[in-house]
Symmetry: C2
């Protein structure tokens, strides 16, 4: 399940709770579209802002709505004890895998990050994907740290940050990491605007934000790269460049939040405070982009 | 209560819970020493790692053990709804003030940070101290943002990050911020190694980590600065330089954790996983420093 397109949907959230029905609808759309796996409660799924009870419920809804498509559930939290509890809940809910970012408040030393993964993998019975996301965790993984963690039991994939824009530099980045980790551990790219470059550079999967709402365009890009049609993968990404610009400017979460409500797939607002949605001007720009791309009418 | 020495004690925490008795002992020592206020559940108090129930209990123990010394309670959390609940709990526990850092997972825009303080101050009946701590929150306050927040009701103080080491640059920093905020809002320095420089540069208070375990040395430095004896304040800080070196190298939380257990004031370990204490080598160095400074035998 750690190859191809893994689609990360939003978890529609308001101050009064989670909209389970809208969430089930988002997940079912992804399964029907034929994504390879679903990443519930990733950063786009707002995992960091939800309670243990809410996260257990979201995991159950996701597994049910995915109807057989494998679901990976985010279990990150600031404290090891919380992560262990969330891992247990995710497995009980039927998750096929878990995704773990080392959230921080106090900056963590490398041994502390390693200790977290060691303590958690010891208790797991499903595979784990290491979530390397310096933009939210402020942990900067060295390749040495990746190598230590990738040798732990249950570690099956690494979700890496955006690869370099230059194709040769991207190939070097992926190849260098590959030499450090077991052959059984896959590498998946994130930062949607680098997905084509990352897949063409040898990444096994794309952990995709845009795929969580627009699975067809993400699948087209992924399948092109998988069949070796590097030019078509790049062309598919280039067509989405106006959307990537908005991702880089406002954060992909806020853009997908506005897109989901514009499509009528969630209510409005759908993000937990203190997060705000896009400003009216930015939202207007997004709608223009979506319409031009044929992603909204 | 937002002038002089505010002492921030550790919250002794293990995987099985909080050691209330040790915590009450730490707080009572500070009150007996005559600190001006106590900062419960600051970063040194590990607020980010504790549950709502644990934090309410810690606030009650602190107010009780402080025996009349004003207690400020940290109410930071990732989500506005959590912060509002924690503010209510802190006030119920008898806190004289609250301390709020804008914790982040998704990076926050300035309007989102402002919105958090706006939503929380609207509900408060005790004063609030703005906690500007980029090392843990990764929020970089501009002076314009400080000015907007400082005009909100209930805002009474700003806990600023380390001031520049150069005394003239520190005076400029404090004076510049002062021109942007109401005269009723005090400025307190943090980063213990810059406390003397900050107080001598016109800060009204010192939000102190070392003061949470060694109140006498922190009070001597603070009182020297308050009576205008800038040279003695600097000399008091210079004597502690070996300790400041360890703070900068390992983080003040880990150093105070090891010092507290070495003094027999807490058990061992006293930090929540994934945080580790000092390595044996670093601990040995700390004990040598404490002994040389007359802070441990």
């Amino acid at each position: 399940m750690f190859t191809g397109l893994s689609a990360f949907p939003l978890t529609p959230t308001t101050e009064s709770g989670i909209d389970d029905r809208a969430y089930a609808g988002l997940v079912a759309r992804l399964a029907r579209a034929g994504v390879d796996s679903i990443g519930a409660l990733g950063s786009t799924g707002g995992y960091a802002y939800l309670s243990r009870e809410q996260r257990a419920q979201v995991a159950r809804v996701a597994v049910d709505a995915a109807d057989g498509t494998p679901v990976m559930v985010g279990i990150g939290a600031l404290r090891t004890a919380q992560v262990l509890a969330l891992a247990e809940d995710a497995q009980q809910a039927g998750a096929s895998a878990v995704l773990l970012a080392p959230m921080t408040y106090q900056p963590l030393a490398e041994d502390e990050v390693f200790g977290l993964y060691e303590d958690v993998t010891r208790e797991l019975s499903v595979p784990l994907c290491v979530y390397d996301n310096p933009g939210t965790t402020h942990v900067h993984f060295t390749d040495e740290l990746h190598a230590r963690i990738a040798r732990l039991p249950q570690v099956a994939s690494i979700k890496i940050p955006p690869v370099p824009a230059d194709p040769a530099a991207a190939r070097t980045r992926v190849a260098t990491l590959r030499t450090q980790i077991p052959a059984t551990v896959t590498i998946g790219v994130s930062g949607d605007w680098t997905a084509a470059t990352g897949l063409n550079a040898g990444c096994d999967s794309w952990y995709s934000v845009v795929g969580g709402l627009f699975p067809d365009v993400a699948l087209a890009l992924t399948r092109a790269a998988q069949r070796g049609d590097t030019a078509e993968a790049v062309a598919a990404s280039d067509r989405l460049e106006p959307l990537w610009q908005l991702f880089r400017q406002y954060g992909s979460l806020r853009v997908m939040s506005a897109a989901a409500s514009h499509l009528g797939l969630t209510g409005e607002p759908n993000l937990p405070l203190p997060l705000h949605g896009l400003s009216p001007d930015a939202r207007h720009g997004l709608i223009t982009v979506l319409t031009t791309l044929g992603l909204a009418s």
